[in-house]
Protein backbone atom coordinates (compact mmCIF):
# COMPACT_ATOMS: atom_id res chain seq x y z
CA UNK A 1 0.00 0.00 0.00
CA UNK A 2 1.35 3.43 -0.89
CA UNK A 3 1.58 5.86 1.98
CA UNK A 4 -0.77 8.84 2.12
CA UNK A 5 -1.55 12.09 3.87
CA UNK A 6 -4.31 11.73 6.40
CA UNK A 7 -6.74 14.42 7.41
CA UNK A 8 -9.97 14.58 9.38
CA UNK A 9 -12.21 17.57 8.57
CA UNK A 10 -14.92 18.59 11.01
CA UNK A 11 -17.21 20.33 8.51
CA UNK A 12 -18.64 19.32 5.14
CA UNK A 13 -17.17 22.49 3.59
CA UNK A 14 -13.68 21.46 4.69
CA UNK A 15 -14.24 18.00 3.20
CA UNK A 16 -15.39 19.51 -0.09
CA UNK A 17 -12.26 21.69 -0.23
CA UNK A 18 -9.99 18.73 0.41
CA UNK A 19 -11.75 16.52 -2.13
CA UNK A 20 -11.72 19.24 -4.76
CA UNK A 21 -7.95 18.90 -5.08
CA UNK A 22 -8.40 15.55 -6.80
CA UNK A 23 -8.32 15.44 -10.59
CA UNK A 24 -11.22 12.99 -10.61
CA UNK A 25 -13.78 11.45 -8.27
CA UNK A 26 -13.71 8.22 -10.31
CA UNK A 27 -11.11 5.44 -10.61
CA UNK A 28 -7.57 6.64 -9.86
CA UNK A 29 -8.67 9.54 -7.67
CA UNK A 30 -5.73 11.06 -5.80
CA UNK A 31 -7.96 12.13 -2.91
CA UNK A 32 -10.41 9.69 -1.35
CA UNK A 33 -12.93 10.08 1.43
CA UNK A 34 -13.01 7.25 3.95
CA UNK A 35 -16.09 6.45 6.02
CA UNK A 36 -16.55 2.75 6.85
CA UNK A 37 -13.55 1.86 4.72
CA UNK A 38 -14.93 -1.55 3.83
CA UNK A 39 -14.45 -1.08 0.08
CA UNK A 40 -11.72 1.56 -0.05
CA UNK A 41 -9.27 -0.11 2.34
CA UNK A 42 -9.89 -3.50 0.72
CA UNK A 43 -8.95 -2.01 -2.67
CA UNK A 44 -5.99 -0.09 -1.24
CA UNK A 45 -4.53 -3.33 0.11
CA UNK A 46 -4.72 -4.69 -3.45
CA UNK A 47 -3.15 -1.54 -4.91
CA UNK A 48 -6.26 -1.07 -7.02
CA UNK A 49 -6.87 2.22 -5.23
CA UNK A 50 -3.77 4.33 -4.63
CA UNK A 51 -4.89 7.65 -3.19
CA UNK A 52 -2.25 10.13 -2.08
CA UNK A 53 -4.62 11.63 0.48
CA UNK A 54 -7.25 10.06 2.67
CA UNK A 55 -9.90 12.36 4.12
CA UNK A 56 -11.61 10.74 7.11
CA UNK A 57 -15.19 12.04 7.11
CA UNK A 58 -16.46 9.98 10.02
CA UNK A 59 -16.88 12.92 12.39
CA UNK A 60 -19.04 14.93 10.00
CA UNK A 61 -22.58 15.36 11.39
CA UNK A 62 -24.26 13.27 8.70
CA UNK A 63 -25.51 10.15 10.49
CA UNK A 64 -29.08 10.98 11.43
CA UNK A 65 -32.21 9.30 10.06
CA UNK A 66 -35.09 11.80 10.14
CA UNK A 67 -38.57 12.19 8.75
CA UNK A 68 -38.60 14.71 5.90
CA UNK A 69 -40.99 17.67 5.94
CA UNK A 70 -43.05 16.03 3.17
CA UNK A 71 -43.35 12.79 5.12
CA UNK A 72 -40.50 11.00 3.39
CA UNK A 73 -37.25 9.91 5.07
CA UNK A 74 -33.84 11.60 5.06
CA UNK A 75 -31.06 9.08 5.66
CA UNK A 76 -27.75 10.67 6.56
CA UNK A 77 -24.83 9.68 4.35
CA UNK A 78 -22.92 8.38 7.36
CA UNK A 79 -25.80 6.38 8.86
CA UNK A 80 -24.40 2.85 9.26
CA UNK A 81 -26.04 0.08 7.22
CA UNK A 82 -27.02 -1.78 10.41
CA UNK A 83 -28.67 1.32 11.87
CA UNK A 84 -30.67 1.92 8.72
CA UNK A 85 -31.68 -1.75 8.50
CA UNK A 86 -32.93 -1.78 12.09
CA UNK A 87 -34.50 1.66 12.08
CA UNK A 88 -38.20 1.31 13.10
CA UNK A 89 -39.44 3.71 10.40
CA UNK A 90 -37.48 1.95 7.68
CA UNK A 91 -38.77 -1.43 8.82
CA UNK A 92 -42.35 -0.26 9.01
CA UNK A 93 -42.58 2.03 5.99
CA UNK A 94 -39.79 0.95 3.61
CA UNK A 95 -39.24 -2.71 4.58
CA UNK A 96 -37.71 -3.60 1.21
CA UNK A 97 -34.70 -1.45 2.16
CA UNK A 98 -34.23 -3.22 5.47
CA UNK A 99 -34.55 -6.63 3.81
CA UNK A 100 -32.01 -5.68 1.18
CA UNK A 101 -29.47 -4.35 3.68
CA UNK A 102 -29.75 -7.38 5.96
CA UNK A 103 -29.18 -9.74 3.03
CA UNK A 104 -25.81 -8.20 2.28
CA UNK A 105 -22.27 -8.39 3.68
CA UNK A 106 -21.91 -9.49 7.32
CA UNK A 107 -22.97 -8.04 10.67
CA UNK A 108 -19.47 -6.65 11.18
CA UNK A 109 -19.35 -5.04 7.74
CA UNK A 110 -22.86 -3.63 8.18
CA UNK A 111 -21.77 -1.98 11.41
CA UNK A 112 -18.95 -0.22 9.57
CA UNK A 113 -20.47 0.50 6.16
CA UNK A 114 -22.37 3.73 5.58
CA UNK A 115 -25.30 4.61 3.33
CA UNK A 116 -23.18 6.71 0.98
CA UNK A 117 -20.31 4.25 1.12
CA UNK A 118 -22.70 1.52 0.02
CA UNK A 119 -23.83 3.70 -2.90
CA UNK A 120 -20.17 4.06 -3.86
CA UNK A 121 -19.06 0.48 -3.21
CA UNK A 122 -17.83 0.12 -6.79
CA UNK A 123 -19.03 -1.86 -9.73
CA UNK A 124 -16.39 -4.56 -9.76
CA UNK A 125 -15.24 -8.10 -10.53
CA UNK A 126 -12.33 -10.37 -9.54
CA UNK A 127 -10.17 -9.11 -12.38
CA UNK A 128 -10.65 -5.50 -11.32
CA UNK A 129 -9.39 -6.53 -7.91
CA UNK A 130 -6.32 -8.27 -9.28
CA UNK A 131 -3.64 -6.02 -10.76
CA UNK A 132 -2.06 -9.03 -12.45
CA UNK A 133 -4.96 -9.03 -14.94
CA UNK A 134 -5.92 -6.52 -17.59
CA UNK A 135 -8.89 -4.35 -16.66
CA UNK A 136 -10.41 -1.46 -18.57
CA UNK A 137 -11.89 -0.07 -15.37
CA UNK A 138 -8.50 0.24 -13.70
CA UNK A 139 -6.66 1.20 -16.86
CA UNK A 140 -8.85 2.14 -19.82
CA UNK A 141 -7.83 0.55 -23.07
CA UNK A 142 -5.95 -2.39 -21.59
CA UNK A 143 -8.71 -4.94 -22.12
CA UNK A 144 -11.37 -6.84 -20.17
CA UNK A 145 -10.15 -10.11 -18.67
CA UNK A 146 -13.66 -11.19 -17.72
CA UNK A 147 -15.23 -11.31 -21.17
CA UNK A 148 -12.93 -14.17 -22.23
CA UNK A 149 -12.36 -15.38 -18.70
CA UNK A 150 -14.48 -16.33 -15.73
CA UNK A 151 -17.72 -14.42 -15.87
CA UNK A 152 -20.33 -16.67 -14.28
CA UNK A 153 -21.26 -14.06 -11.68
CA UNK A 154 -21.12 -11.02 -13.92
CA UNK A 155 -23.61 -8.83 -15.74
CA UNK A 156 -26.07 -9.59 -18.53
CA UNK A 157 -27.68 -6.13 -18.71
CA UNK A 158 -25.98 -2.84 -19.53
CA UNK A 159 -22.73 -4.48 -20.58
CA UNK A 160 -20.32 -3.19 -23.19
CA UNK A 161 -17.36 -4.61 -25.09
CA UNK A 162 -15.15 -3.03 -22.46
CA UNK A 163 -16.75 -4.12 -19.19
CA UNK A 164 -19.27 -6.62 -17.81
CA UNK A 165 -18.77 -6.08 -14.07
CA UNK A 166 -21.80 -5.90 -11.78
CA UNK A 167 -22.69 -3.47 -9.05
CA UNK A 168 -23.09 -5.98 -6.20
CA UNK A 169 -24.98 -3.77 -3.74
CA UNK A 170 -28.35 -4.87 -2.38
CA UNK A 171 -29.07 -1.49 -0.78
CA UNK A 172 -28.82 0.27 -4.12
CA UNK A 173 -31.37 -2.05 -5.74
CA UNK A 174 -33.91 -1.33 -2.99
CA UNK A 175 -33.17 2.42 -3.14
CA UNK A 176 -33.74 2.29 -6.90
CA UNK A 177 -37.14 0.61 -6.50
CA UNK A 178 -37.98 3.23 -3.85
CA UNK A 179 -36.92 6.07 -6.21
CA UNK A 180 -34.47 7.58 -3.74
CA UNK A 181 -32.70 10.85 -4.42
CA UNK A 182 -29.11 11.58 -3.48
CA UNK A 183 -28.15 14.93 -1.96
CA UNK A 184 -24.65 16.14 -2.77
CA UNK A 185 -22.66 19.12 -1.58
CA UNK A 186 -19.84 20.11 -3.91
CA UNK A 187 -17.69 22.94 -5.21
CA UNK A 188 -20.69 24.49 -6.91
CA UNK A 189 -23.08 24.14 -3.98
CA UNK A 190 -25.83 21.63 -3.29
CA UNK A 191 -27.76 19.43 -5.69
CA UNK A 192 -30.07 16.42 -5.62
CA UNK A 193 -29.90 13.56 -8.11
CA UNK A 194 -32.43 10.74 -8.61
CA UNK A 195 -30.66 7.45 -8.04
CA UNK A 196 -31.48 6.15 -11.54
CA UNK A 197 -29.44 9.09 -12.94
CA UNK A 198 -26.54 8.65 -10.53
CA UNK A 199 -24.83 5.62 -12.07
CA UNK A 200 -23.22 5.49 -15.52
CA UNK A 201 -23.17 2.55 -17.90
CA UNK A 202 -19.64 1.31 -18.61
CA UNK A 203 -19.72 2.06 -22.33
CA UNK A 204 -16.17 2.74 -23.44
CA UNK A 205 -15.21 4.37 -20.14
CA UNK A 206 -15.82 1.80 -17.39
CA UNK A 207 -13.47 3.79 -15.15
CA UNK A 208 -16.33 6.27 -14.69
CA UNK A 209 -19.10 4.81 -12.54
CA UNK A 210 -21.07 7.77 -11.17
CA UNK A 211 -21.77 11.42 -11.93
CA UNK A 212 -19.68 12.59 -8.97
CA UNK A 213 -17.09 15.32 -9.51
CA UNK A 214 -14.05 16.14 -7.36
CA UNK A 215 -15.06 17.70 -4.05
CA UNK A 216 -18.54 16.15 -4.11
CA UNK A 217 -19.63 14.87 -0.72
CA UNK A 218 -22.85 12.87 -0.51
CA UNK A 219 -24.66 14.26 2.53
CA UNK A 220 -27.92 12.31 2.52
CA UNK A 221 -30.25 9.96 0.69
CA UNK A 222 -33.92 10.85 0.69
CA UNK A 223 -36.85 8.51 0.25
CA UNK A 224 -40.16 9.90 -1.04
CA UNK A 225 -43.24 9.81 1.19
CA UNK A 226 -44.66 6.32 1.38
CA UNK A 227 -47.59 5.39 -0.81
CA UNK A 228 -50.26 3.91 1.42
CA UNK A 229 -51.02 0.27 0.83
CA UNK A 230 -47.89 -0.69 -1.10
CA UNK A 231 -46.52 -4.19 -0.87
CA UNK A 232 -42.86 -4.89 -1.38
CA UNK A 233 -40.23 -7.58 -1.25
CA UNK A 234 -36.50 -8.04 -1.77
CA UNK A 235 -35.52 -11.48 -3.06
CA UNK A 236 -31.85 -12.41 -3.33
CA UNK A 237 -30.77 -15.59 -5.11
CA UNK A 238 -27.26 -16.93 -4.66
CA UNK A 239 -25.25 -20.16 -4.41
CA UNK A 240 -24.99 -20.04 -0.60
CA UNK A 241 -27.60 -19.10 1.96
CA UNK A 242 -25.56 -16.19 3.28
CA UNK A 243 -22.50 -13.99 2.92
CA UNK A 244 -22.36 -13.82 -0.83
CA UNK A 245 -23.26 -11.49 -3.69
CA UNK A 246 -26.50 -12.07 -5.58
CA UNK A 247 -26.51 -14.09 -8.78
CA UNK A 248 -29.82 -12.32 -9.32
CA UNK A 249 -32.00 -10.23 -7.05
CA UNK A 250 -35.16 -8.19 -7.33
CA UNK A 251 -36.69 -5.37 -5.32
CA UNK A 252 -40.38 -4.97 -6.10
CA UNK A 253 -42.84 -2.37 -4.85
CA UNK A 254 -46.50 -2.73 -5.86
CA UNK A 255 -49.77 -1.04 -5.17
CA UNK A 256 -52.92 -2.94 -6.03
CA UNK A 257 -56.43 -1.77 -6.70
CA UNK A 258 -58.54 -4.84 -6.14
CA UNK A 259 -57.00 -7.39 -8.51
CA UNK A 260 -55.24 -4.84 -10.72
CA UNK A 261 -51.74 -3.50 -10.42
CA UNK A 262 -52.02 0.25 -10.04
CA UNK A 263 -48.36 1.05 -9.36
CA UNK A 264 -45.17 -0.94 -9.80
CA UNK A 265 -41.46 -0.34 -9.34
CA UNK A 266 -39.00 -3.08 -10.24
CA UNK A 267 -35.23 -3.02 -9.73
CA UNK A 268 -32.75 -5.82 -10.31
CA UNK A 269 -29.42 -6.70 -8.72
CA UNK A 270 -26.65 -9.10 -9.60
CA UNK A 271 -27.39 -8.87 -13.31
CA UNK A 272 -26.68 -5.25 -14.25
CA UNK A 273 -23.64 -3.05 -14.61
CA UNK A 274 -25.49 -0.67 -12.31
CA UNK A 275 -28.51 -1.05 -10.01
CA UNK A 276 -31.04 -1.93 -12.69
CA UNK A 277 -34.36 -0.13 -12.83
CA UNK A 278 -36.70 -2.00 -15.18
CA UNK A 279 -39.17 0.42 -16.73
CA UNK A 280 -40.04 -2.36 -19.19
CA UNK A 281 -41.25 -4.63 -16.41
CA UNK A 282 -43.15 -1.79 -14.77
CA UNK A 283 -44.99 -0.98 -18.01
CA UNK A 284 -45.90 -4.64 -18.44
CA UNK A 285 -47.37 -4.78 -14.94
CA UNK A 286 -49.30 -1.53 -14.72
CA UNK A 287 -53.04 -1.97 -15.20
CA UNK A 288 -52.85 -5.74 -15.46
CA UNK A 289 -54.24 -8.45 -13.23
CA UNK A 290 -52.30 -9.86 -10.34
CA UNK A 291 -51.35 -13.35 -11.47
CA UNK A 292 -48.29 -15.37 -12.41
CA UNK A 293 -48.91 -14.92 -16.14
CA UNK A 294 -48.71 -11.15 -15.73
CA UNK A 295 -45.59 -11.48 -13.63
CA UNK A 296 -43.96 -13.75 -16.20
CA UNK A 297 -44.71 -11.33 -19.05
CA UNK A 298 -43.13 -8.55 -17.04
CA UNK A 299 -40.08 -10.71 -16.39
CA UNK A 300 -39.72 -11.46 -20.11
CA UNK A 301 -39.86 -7.73 -20.85
CA UNK A 302 -37.25 -6.98 -18.17
CA UNK A 303 -34.72 -9.39 -19.65
CA UNK A 304 -35.44 -9.01 -23.36
CA UNK A 305 -32.23 -7.04 -23.98
CA UNK A 306 -30.07 -9.32 -21.86
CA UNK A 307 -26.68 -10.14 -23.40
CA UNK A 308 -25.06 -12.97 -21.50
CA UNK A 309 -21.35 -13.69 -21.58
CA UNK A 310 -19.80 -17.13 -21.99
CA UNK A 311 -20.64 -18.46 -18.52
CA UNK A 312 -23.68 -16.56 -17.24
CA UNK A 313 -26.43 -17.43 -19.68
CA UNK A 314 -28.27 -19.15 -16.85
CA UNK A 315 -28.84 -15.73 -15.30
CA UNK A 316 -31.39 -14.79 -17.95
CA UNK A 317 -33.89 -17.40 -16.81
CA UNK A 318 -32.82 -17.08 -13.18
CA UNK A 319 -33.51 -13.34 -13.19
CA UNK A 320 -36.94 -13.87 -14.76
CA UNK A 321 -37.89 -16.41 -12.12
CA UNK A 322 -36.51 -14.10 -9.45
CA UNK A 323 -38.85 -11.34 -10.63
CA UNK A 324 -41.85 -13.68 -10.74
CA UNK A 325 -41.07 -15.10 -7.29
CA UNK A 326 -40.50 -11.66 -5.75
CA UNK A 327 -43.79 -10.38 -7.15
CA UNK A 328 -45.59 -13.49 -5.94
CA UNK A 329 -44.11 -13.19 -2.46
CA UNK A 330 -44.99 -9.51 -2.23
CA UNK A 331 -48.62 -10.13 -3.14
CA UNK A 332 -49.10 -13.19 -0.98
CA UNK A 333 -49.72 -12.38 2.67
Amino acid sequence: MDTFQFSRPTTVDQAVQLGAASSTAQQSAEVRFVAGGTTLIDLMKLNVERPRQIVDINVLPLDKIDTAPNGGLIIGALARNSDVAHNPTVQRVYPVLSQALLSGASPQLRNMATTAGNLLQRTRCVYFRDTAHACNKREPGTGCSAIDGQNRTLAILGTSRDCIATNPSDQNVALTALEATIQIQGKGGKRSIPIHEFYLLPGSAPNRETVLEPGDVIVSVTLPPPIAGTKSHYLKLRDRAAYEFALASAAVVLKLNGNKIEYARIALGGVGTRPWRSLEAERALKGNSVNVATFRRAAEEALKDARPASENGFKVELAKRCIVRALTMSTTA
Binding site: R8, G36, P107, M112
Partner: protein, 228 residues
Protein backbone atom coordinates in the same frame (compact mmCIF):
# COMPACT_ATOMS: atom_id res chain seq x y z
CA UNK B 1 18.38 -32.45 28.37
CA UNK B 2 17.53 -34.75 31.30
CA UNK B 3 16.77 -38.26 30.22
CA UNK B 4 13.62 -39.96 31.42
CA UNK B 5 14.18 -43.71 31.65
CA UNK B 6 11.36 -45.17 29.57
CA UNK B 7 11.70 -48.20 27.35
CA UNK B 8 10.84 -46.59 24.12
CA UNK B 9 9.89 -43.03 23.47
CA UNK B 10 9.72 -40.65 20.60
CA UNK B 11 11.41 -37.27 20.59
CA UNK B 12 7.99 -35.78 21.25
CA UNK B 13 7.50 -37.93 24.36
CA UNK B 14 10.83 -36.69 25.67
CA UNK B 15 9.80 -33.12 25.04
CA UNK B 16 6.48 -33.59 26.84
CA UNK B 17 8.03 -35.22 29.85
CA UNK B 18 10.69 -32.58 30.18
CA UNK B 19 8.06 -29.90 30.08
CA UNK B 20 6.21 -31.50 32.95
CA UNK B 21 9.22 -32.08 35.20
CA UNK B 22 9.62 -31.02 37.98
CA UNK B 23 6.60 -32.83 39.40
CA UNK B 24 4.54 -29.83 40.41
CA UNK B 25 4.09 -28.95 36.71
CA UNK B 26 5.41 -25.41 36.94
CA UNK B 27 7.27 -24.12 33.90
CA UNK B 28 10.97 -24.33 34.44
CA UNK B 29 11.75 -20.72 33.71
CA UNK B 30 8.94 -18.76 35.32
CA UNK B 31 6.81 -16.38 33.27
CA UNK B 32 8.45 -16.85 29.91
CA UNK B 33 5.92 -17.67 27.24
CA UNK B 34 6.50 -19.05 23.77
CA UNK B 35 5.64 -15.69 22.30
CA UNK B 36 7.98 -13.59 24.40
CA UNK B 37 10.79 -16.10 23.93
CA UNK B 38 10.46 -16.10 20.17
CA UNK B 39 10.18 -12.36 19.95
CA UNK B 40 13.42 -11.96 21.88
CA UNK B 41 15.44 -14.64 20.15
CA UNK B 42 13.94 -14.51 16.70
CA UNK B 43 15.65 -17.47 15.05
CA UNK B 44 13.27 -20.35 14.51
CA UNK B 45 16.08 -22.88 14.55
CA UNK B 46 16.96 -22.22 18.18
CA UNK B 47 13.33 -22.44 19.27
CA UNK B 48 12.92 -25.86 17.68
CA UNK B 49 15.66 -27.45 19.75
CA UNK B 50 14.90 -26.02 23.18
CA UNK B 51 11.43 -27.22 24.14
CA UNK B 52 11.88 -26.56 27.85
CA UNK B 53 11.02 -22.91 27.43
CA UNK B 54 7.41 -23.54 26.50
CA UNK B 55 5.01 -22.70 29.31
CA UNK B 56 2.69 -25.43 30.42
CA UNK B 57 -0.42 -23.46 31.17
CA UNK B 58 -1.64 -20.01 30.12
CA UNK B 59 -0.65 -17.25 32.52
CA UNK B 60 -2.35 -13.90 32.91
CA UNK B 61 -0.71 -11.76 30.20
CA UNK B 62 2.23 -9.66 31.39
CA UNK B 63 1.81 -5.90 31.51
CA UNK B 64 1.21 -4.66 27.99
CA UNK B 65 4.43 -3.64 26.32
CA UNK B 66 4.06 -1.09 23.64
CA UNK B 67 6.43 -1.19 20.75
CA UNK B 68 7.05 2.50 20.37
CA UNK B 69 6.14 3.77 16.92
CA UNK B 70 9.18 4.77 14.95
CA UNK B 71 9.70 8.40 15.76
CA UNK B 72 10.65 10.64 12.92
CA UNK B 73 8.95 8.49 10.28
CA UNK B 74 7.84 10.94 7.64
CA UNK B 75 4.08 11.25 7.59
CA UNK B 76 3.59 9.42 10.90
CA UNK B 77 0.28 10.48 12.41
CA UNK B 78 -0.19 10.96 16.16
CA UNK B 79 -3.23 9.24 17.64
CA UNK B 80 -4.50 8.36 21.08
CA UNK B 81 -6.23 5.00 21.14
CA UNK B 82 -8.40 3.77 23.96
CA UNK B 83 -8.18 0.00 24.14
CA UNK B 84 -9.82 -2.06 26.89
CA UNK B 85 -10.10 1.06 29.00
CA UNK B 86 -6.45 2.08 28.70
CA UNK B 87 -5.10 4.98 26.64
CA UNK B 88 -2.13 4.62 24.32
CA UNK B 89 -0.39 7.57 22.68
CA UNK B 90 1.08 6.47 19.38
CA UNK B 91 2.58 7.88 16.24
CA UNK B 92 1.71 5.58 13.41
CA UNK B 93 2.30 5.07 9.73
CA UNK B 94 -1.23 5.93 8.59
CA UNK B 95 -1.40 2.68 6.60
CA UNK B 96 -1.42 0.72 9.86
CA UNK B 97 -4.75 -1.03 10.17
CA UNK B 98 -6.40 -1.24 13.57
CA UNK B 99 -5.68 -4.97 13.44
CA UNK B 100 -1.96 -4.52 12.83
CA UNK B 101 -1.79 -1.80 15.46
CA UNK B 102 -3.29 -4.12 18.07
CA UNK B 103 -1.06 -7.05 17.19
CA UNK B 104 2.22 -5.35 16.30
CA UNK B 105 2.29 -2.01 18.09
CA UNK B 106 0.30 -2.74 21.24
CA UNK B 107 1.23 -6.36 21.95
CA UNK B 108 -2.40 -7.46 21.94
CA UNK B 109 -2.15 -10.48 19.64
CA UNK B 110 -5.42 -12.08 20.75
CA UNK B 111 -7.10 -10.59 17.68
CA UNK B 112 -6.14 -12.68 14.66
CA UNK B 113 -5.45 -11.93 11.03
CA UNK B 114 -7.28 -14.45 8.83
CA UNK B 115 -7.96 -12.96 5.42
CA UNK B 116 -7.05 -9.30 6.03
CA UNK B 117 -9.90 -8.31 3.69
CA UNK B 118 -13.00 -8.32 5.87
CA UNK B 119 -14.20 -11.70 4.66
CA UNK B 120 -13.52 -14.10 7.54
CA UNK B 121 -14.23 -12.26 10.80
CA UNK B 122 -11.14 -13.52 12.67
CA UNK B 123 -10.18 -9.91 13.33
CA UNK B 124 -13.49 -8.96 14.97
CA UNK B 125 -13.23 -6.39 17.77
CA UNK B 126 -15.72 -3.97 19.33
CA UNK B 127 -15.62 -0.29 18.46
CA UNK B 128 -18.00 1.70 20.66
CA UNK B 129 -19.69 -1.57 21.55
CA UNK B 130 -20.24 -2.74 17.97
CA UNK B 131 -18.54 -5.63 16.29
CA UNK B 132 -16.37 -4.65 13.33
CA UNK B 133 -13.57 -6.12 11.22
CA UNK B 134 -10.40 -4.43 12.46
CA UNK B 135 -8.51 -5.29 9.26
CA UNK B 136 -10.54 -2.83 7.20
CA UNK B 137 -9.98 0.26 9.30
CA UNK B 138 -6.91 2.43 9.76
CA UNK B 139 -5.83 2.80 13.39
CA UNK B 140 -5.57 6.57 12.98
CA UNK B 141 -9.30 6.72 12.27
CA UNK B 142 -10.15 5.69 15.84
CA UNK B 143 -8.94 8.53 17.98
CA UNK B 144 -12.18 9.05 19.91
CA UNK B 145 -13.42 5.46 19.96
CA UNK B 146 -13.73 2.91 22.77
CA UNK B 147 -12.15 -0.26 21.50
CA UNK B 148 -12.53 -3.66 23.15
CA UNK B 149 -10.47 -6.69 22.17
CA UNK B 150 -10.60 -10.31 23.33
CA UNK B 151 -8.05 -9.38 25.98
CA UNK B 152 -10.63 -7.04 27.43
CA UNK B 153 -13.46 -9.57 27.53
CA UNK B 154 -12.25 -11.80 30.31
CA UNK B 155 -9.19 -13.18 32.05
CA UNK B 156 -8.05 -16.79 32.50
CA UNK B 157 -9.08 -16.76 36.13
CA UNK B 158 -12.28 -14.82 35.48
CA UNK B 159 -13.75 -15.80 32.15
CA UNK B 160 -16.57 -14.04 30.40
CA UNK B 161 -19.60 -16.37 30.37
CA UNK B 162 -19.25 -16.64 26.58
CA UNK B 163 -15.64 -17.80 26.92
CA UNK B 164 -16.67 -20.35 29.55
CA UNK B 165 -19.46 -21.55 27.25
CA UNK B 166 -17.02 -22.01 24.34
CA UNK B 167 -14.92 -24.24 26.56
CA UNK B 168 -17.88 -26.15 27.95
CA UNK B 169 -19.37 -26.76 24.51
CA UNK B 170 -16.04 -27.43 22.78
CA UNK B 171 -16.65 -24.49 20.46
CA UNK B 172 -13.20 -24.55 18.80
CA UNK B 173 -10.54 -26.87 17.37
CA UNK B 174 -7.47 -25.00 16.20
CA UNK B 175 -8.62 -21.87 17.96
CA UNK B 176 -7.63 -19.40 15.30
CA UNK B 177 -11.13 -18.08 14.54
CA UNK B 178 -12.13 -18.32 18.18
CA UNK B 179 -11.35 -14.86 19.47
CA UNK B 180 -13.28 -13.39 16.54
CA UNK B 181 -16.16 -15.80 17.16
CA UNK B 182 -16.30 -14.83 20.82
CA UNK B 183 -16.14 -11.09 20.09
CA UNK B 184 -18.95 -11.51 17.57
CA UNK B 185 -21.00 -13.62 19.95
CA UNK B 186 -20.60 -11.21 22.87
CA UNK B 187 -21.76 -8.32 20.67
CA UNK B 188 -24.67 -10.40 19.44
CA UNK B 189 -26.01 -10.58 23.01
CA UNK B 190 -26.99 -6.92 22.66
CA UNK B 191 -28.44 -7.15 19.13
CA UNK B 192 -31.97 -8.07 18.04
CA UNK B 193 -31.54 -11.74 17.13
CA UNK B 194 -34.33 -14.34 16.99
CA UNK B 195 -34.38 -17.27 19.38
CA UNK B 196 -33.58 -20.23 17.13
CA UNK B 197 -30.29 -21.87 16.19
CA UNK B 198 -30.94 -20.72 12.62
CA UNK B 199 -31.21 -17.14 13.88
CA UNK B 200 -27.86 -17.49 15.63
CA UNK B 201 -26.28 -18.85 12.45
CA UNK B 202 -27.64 -15.87 10.53
CA UNK B 203 -26.21 -13.53 13.14
CA UNK B 204 -22.79 -15.23 13.15
CA UNK B 205 -22.22 -15.86 9.45
CA UNK B 206 -19.56 -13.15 9.32
CA UNK B 207 -17.24 -15.47 11.26
CA UNK B 208 -15.85 -18.39 9.31
CA UNK B 209 -14.44 -21.54 10.94
CA UNK B 210 -12.35 -23.76 8.69
CA UNK B 211 -12.32 -26.51 11.32
CA UNK B 212 -16.09 -26.63 11.18
CA UNK B 213 -16.82 -26.13 14.88
CA UNK B 214 -20.07 -24.41 13.96
CA UNK B 215 -22.57 -26.66 15.77
CA UNK B 216 -20.64 -26.28 19.01
CA UNK B 217 -20.23 -22.55 18.50
CA UNK B 218 -23.99 -22.22 18.10
CA UNK B 219 -24.51 -24.33 21.23
CA UNK B 220 -22.13 -22.12 23.19
CA UNK B 221 -23.87 -18.95 22.03
CA UNK B 222 -27.32 -20.31 22.77
CA UNK B 223 -26.38 -21.50 26.24
CA UNK B 224 -24.95 -18.07 27.06
CA UNK B 225 -28.07 -16.34 25.77
CA UNK B 226 -30.19 -18.49 28.05
CA UNK B 227 -28.16 -17.40 31.05
CA UNK B 228 -28.41 -13.69 30.30
Amino acid sequence: MAKVPVESQTAKDTEQQEKLAPENGQPLLGRVTRRSFLSHIGAAGIAASTPVFASVSPQASPAVEEVPAIDGVEGAVPVTLRINGKEHNLKLDPRTTLLDCLRENLNLPGTKKGCDHGQCGACTVHVNGRRVNSCLSFAVMHSMDEITTIEGIGQPDHLHPMQAAFIEHDGYQCGYCTSGQIMSAVALLKEPVGPTDEDVKQAMYGNICRCGAYPNIVAAVQSTRKQA
